[in-house]
Symmetry: D3
Subunit: 338 residues, 6 copies
């Protein structure tokens, strides 16, 4: 029985090694990732079982993508293998210092975009699970994906699961004729926890910090909770990006009218820029179980998990709970462990 | 001034090294290829200048593809960089022995498929050139590509260039609503030289060997020439595939009512299965210049070039004319050259 | 519910690439394998679910080994992670031509050797399964492993599973004070199907071909069935090793007093020498389901699977049922699949 | 028609990866570079066409070097392939932190050093071009190279091209019996723009900052312009090297009696220490066209280009004009671009 | 004749490249190291001949390990190849930033642990040598290793060699039934020079800084010398670890009642965390010869050597004396050397 | 004390992996080799100690080359590190099937070519040795090298060592103004054993098979012995090259008027074409000791060693005597060794 079920697209990621540019690269490192399944894989490393529902082309690429997540402990049996559509791809040029990392997406016409909502039997998929997670990318991909997402949320609510979303507004993705501003609110209304930055709140919900609010995030989070009463927690990371090689992040939480913020972590060098937010959320889901009555502790755990993610290649946060706790306990100097 | 101009699509090729399968590969070797540009690049290695007309997305992938062919001596200035469409890809699992190599195409919605025929100024592109080459893949991709191909052939004919085509019928490609059997004949009618197997002749033109014909290829070639009087030469390779690691090929030519066939070459091991036909044609174009009055010699050169191609990684035949001549001269034992 | 449950040790495999020797290798390719789990992973590729029971050290190496098999579709939940013992290793120097491949084992004191038989709850593990597979390596490793193996067989018999064993006698392994000749017979007595060569039959059971028997394998197999009446099928591959780069194998089966033998397959080059026997058995288990009434067909499937294995890097046979059928259908020439 | 023509030597660069030392490296990364052609290749990335004149051995190494620069958009047709001499090499040990990167040159007796000045038909090579660039390395290599360089400059002057030089004095190179102090002044006299540090000015021309001059570079640049009236602009980068992994650079320009200096950029980590100066000059040539009336803007562009170069492997600055402008616009934090 | 003889275990080191974790690594970089032989190899790079006595399994792994140290100039003829025991291994996950590097040891039952003390003919091994070095790891491994170590020290004393030890207390290693606190003192009593941190001094000898001592290291070193009158010098490095990617180290020496401390060096990034202490000691042994009368100079040399080590992959410090002197002379900025 | 001393040049070898051509290779595999030191290294693997005298540039390349041979057991102390000259290089394109492997030499002006004959103190170098080996490459490189070679031979003769030479005539190498036909005879006159093919015998000594001789090699060898009475044995391999991937070799010996020839070995695939002759000679030197009275056995050993060499990457034959004996004993099928 999974603790967590995620729903979303998984792509192949192709990246030149050693900071090469695509124009010069004779080989590309291959891995697979998706903003939802990354959360499940990270949670499985922390010790809580996860399952993923998605849709792949029934070809060697789709099977390879599924195998990648199985390897890291995600139960992929809820996934569908389809005769139509391709595996989405993204190309990642890894920057350094003043040069940003850059993503070239190649995800159009994917099997996931063309999924059949009826192919997902949510009562079975969610049976025994305690948490459902989705992101704002999924309803952006296609009308079918949005419908499947709505069905999953509805069933999760019926069963009393905790539902979380990373609202993650990406303007370019919304191409199928619906507006995020119309599609997202009813989906978000079914959530207990959302990841939402100030920018997302404005873009999606027209919510801005109250004039003179001392803390923009808290102001926005309070308004979100007011608008969507099912939401109890709003979280986010704040990035103070120094360079492509140096991130500084801290964790933010608003809950029960109270604002929490962690100390910042410096990550230098950044080994992998991708997946920090997913690792943060996986850490928060873990923390919500391990430290159910201590939101500050859960937030600290989530933030440390996010920081560690950026030291690990690939989309997935391959760290154990003990390793995260080691950092939470203040061991920030990276002293050799024998 | 190029000797040869080619027109067609170029794709990124992604292949697991060391006979790995996609399901297990942590990295993919990257190269670029296309059945038309491969001919130009091979010809440039042989010492005759080549140029290519095609269409790429205006992104790092498209630019990388163009750079790849420039590296091997192809003038890419006739290419168009477009805001619409993606770079087509193909994934190649390299087989061994009893296990076939396998290609997974991912080329839908490419910039080339969506090209604007008006973007190619054929009088300028063909100015000073002596030869135009295209393949049956191009008109299969989209109506726009077919139109551009027809325009190129027409202009080439006006200018008196030699026109060649590898008719190369691939049933799966013809998806845009036209039939190959309708589109190809008027295009082939403009050719001086075609690569055409017995299978292609039947599929595309309904031409079969005459009953009791001692030589199927010669019979078919004769009928092709009869139907399309511009054609003077029909060529092909005959493959006697022993295993994924062992090919045997010989070259066939029908011209002036006469049939030519080379001795076969054994290639074991096959280093790269792709691009042999393109190398064959490049070799024949070279031979048509170097041995204008000796078609058997030109055919021998072309076949040796094709055999050498299978010993070289990538789509492009990186051999010099001297290296081909060395093999034509009977040096088949691969004795170390110091 | 798994179709197949396997029980046995999994080791890390470390091999210099490109035919290097250990004395010169700056890097080693890492994979994981075990004679039992390899069968499960191959079966999962063929489409039948598999689970594995084993024991790993609770450290990054043990977790990596488990993840490897999850990736290829094996349910690893029956595995135990233990505080004691190490992950067994083997180093593989990949030979070529006249130079044999060579294995240096480093598997002493492994977590598997030190497993606690009580840690495996066989009724639960075998619940819903249809087949149990073990090999003669497991009872050779330690008394504890032998006891756990006996318990698994006993429970499988109680539940009516099919039980198979690859008897696989390796003299060097039996170091814990018991003799294979004493330990193996009662275990083999619980089997429905055994893989057993003539050499194994003599070494383990003192069974030799009857004087003047026209077919040694059939003679031995018949005696085995006579001695262990639960056994209904005896299978084996016959290898006619031409060189480290060229194997020839055919499949043998004795059942119901009848002897079956397939045509031989030549594998040249051999990409990976390891795991052919495991692929053979996985193929036979698949065939026993797909062609329940046609043992010759099942044997043909198994032998083709084994042949394909030697074209794939790693211990595990990453081929689909369709790919095996393609070879069974006589497509032995490795012609490119587009 | 190229915008820029460069003339100089191109070498193969061989570098151990991952900060290895030559004593331990099992493989070397191969690329090609030369202080002049690097400028052309960088300019081609920025969108202005470039051509290069040089001399290679007519062997696979020479052809590979030429192909490398074609790939990045440089027209190599003005190059000569010669029967005499070798391809110069340099070995690069990539340092880190306190350990400097170290170059071992192996360039003696190169084809370029032995070039025949008559082999370069400068009127044809420079036809239609607007800019000629050379460096002080070229006349240091051999008397023949110096003569060819003088001929190029003379022809460029005749045609009214802008001529630039990186005077780049390297004492060790001047081995053929002439002194830099004698050879360089007449060549520099033909330049419109020079890159010249204070050290170079003293070593080559005996020019030192005027006593009490508030700005050494400006003082020296003013004297240079006084001595060589054709010169209108003197530029340089100032490096404040923090470690092998951390550079700080700013750009300097003296023109029309006025001194310009950019803000400094910190590059940490330095991905590749080589080619920053060449990227700077390419950026300045681009800027001289794009911002003809705004020398400060051109200098800002050049300096940003140089900073980005150090984040890219190889000798050549693979960045687009848009990417440089992004940095000039103040986006120094390397924030991920999706 | 070696200047230095070392005695100790050598292990194979297996490390995922590019900061990968073991769970995801498809290949492992291989090198070999041991706290004693590393000193000898580093000294040989500095120009003083070294020999090593140890014990390897007589298999390809043991021979590879010995070859590795021969490559770097260590005379391995005093080593024994044994029929019993394995080659010890260690797996190194290379951390970054906040994530520590982590070692998984797999060294039990090694050939070294099972060595026969009688196999080492110390009078012959030490003949002509001037220095013997051992570490506290050796007597921790097994009673046999401890006995051999004692015999080596005794013979070295008889011959008047300088004897040094890195006392290096690792609690986990002492598993064979003796206590470090009993075994180490008589061995240390035979030393002229020891590397000993405050922590080691307390753990092994119960020595703590005197109350109110202004300098803990000096206080402890003084007490050590008082207790073990043969000791004349106590040295150590002090690490101020900023992160897994940033170390700061300085060197400490107590001798003749006087305390010396170097300026600190910052190493950022750390290329390889392992072997800094061994490089420090090799530097000090070199310095003790080159600067016999200037302990501060010897200490400066040792500390610079240790700093450089962390910029070089592998266990061994591949730097020349000139490179160390370059750093001692204050060239800390890593400026490119042509 | 070495059994064998070799004298000759060592070069860096740079080869594209995976059958790539230099024009496409992004990395080159590095190793080191020389026709003389290869013999010593191979002999050391077989268990007989070897030393090498040569001359390297005193730079990181020269030191790396020396370290390479130390790693494989060669005592490099007789080598000289010189301030003048470079390390010779050779580039190797590895062919396949019909495409030959091809070497591009870049060895002019090497430190070895410029060696000072007085730098080699032959009485000390040869002290205690039993065998001296040189090749015809050494006197071809420079007059200085030829003089040093003559001095070594003379001293070896004085001391009663066995002297062997691989006469190995390479026309292109003789560039310094002397003719091989003048230089070689007095050197060969000092040899006890020569490797000499029929072609070499004709080119160097004008010796051809007697008219009607049934065996050309035997006829030529007999004449060689007649002309140079010190020679007692003439050996050679006969290669029947099938392709770049398939060699067939047998060993030839003429001694005491008798001709010996081994059975041929097929090597398919050839992993590395280089060094077979050096491995053959090392095997013969080993055999001359191990089977002093059985020349046929020594020849069999030598031929098996040569065959195995072609299965191993690099110039050096990394096989043990036991592995060679395994092949001599008829184990040609490469059956897996566990």
């Amino acid at each position: 029985m999974p603790h967590l079920v995620t729903f979303g697209e998984i792509m192949m990621r192709l990246a030149p090694p050693n900071h090469e540019r695509l124009a010069q690269a004779p080989a590309l490192a291959v891995t697979y990732g998706g903003g939802e399944a990354n959360v499940g894989a990270a949670l499985a490393q922390l010790g809580l079982p996860a399952a993923h529902a998605g849709c792949f082309p029934d070809n060697p690429l789709g099977r390879a993508a599924a195998g990648h997540f199985r390897r890291y402990g995600v139960d992929m049996r809820p996934c569908v293998f389809s005769e139509t559509g391709r595996l989405g791809l993204y190309f990642l040029e890894v920057g350094a210092s003043l040069r940003p990392s850059r993503i070239v997406y190649d995800r159009a016409e994917s099997a996931f975009a063309r999924l059949d909502p009826a192919a997902f039997d949510w009562p079975t998929i969610l049976d025994g699970a305690r948490w459902l997670h989705w992101t704002g990318i999924t309803p952006a991909i296609s009308a079918a994906a949005a419908r499947a997402c709505a069905a999953a949320i509805a069933e999760a609510r019926r069963r009393g699961l905790t539902v979380s979303a990373d609202v993650n507004y990406r303007r370019n993705l919304w191409q199928y004729g619906q507006k995020a501003q119309d599609v997202m609110p009813p989906l978000v209304a079914g959530c207990d926890l959302v990841v939402c930055t100030e920018g997302d709140a404005e873009d999606l919900f027209g919510i801005r910090p109250a004039a003179g609010a001392p803390n923009g995030f808290a102001s926005v989070a309070g308004q979100l909770i007011a608008r969507f009463p099912q939401i109890k927690q709003v979280i986010a990371t704040r990035r103070d990006t120094q360079s492509a090689s140096h991130e500084r992040i801290c964790g933010l939480l608003f809950q029960d009218g109270q604002y929490y913020e962690t100390v910042p972590y410096d990550i230098a060098p950044v080994v992998d820029r991708i997946g920090g937010g997913d690792a943060f959320l996986a850490g928060f889901i873990y923390g919500a179980t391990a430290y159910a009555d201590d939101p500050a502790r859960a937030l600290a755990f989530a933030t440390a998990a996010a920081a560690l993610k950026h030291t690990i290649p690939g989309d997935v946060n391959l760290v154990t709970a003990a390793e995260v706790e080691h950092l939470v306990a203040g061991n920030t100097t990276g002293r050799l462990l024998r």
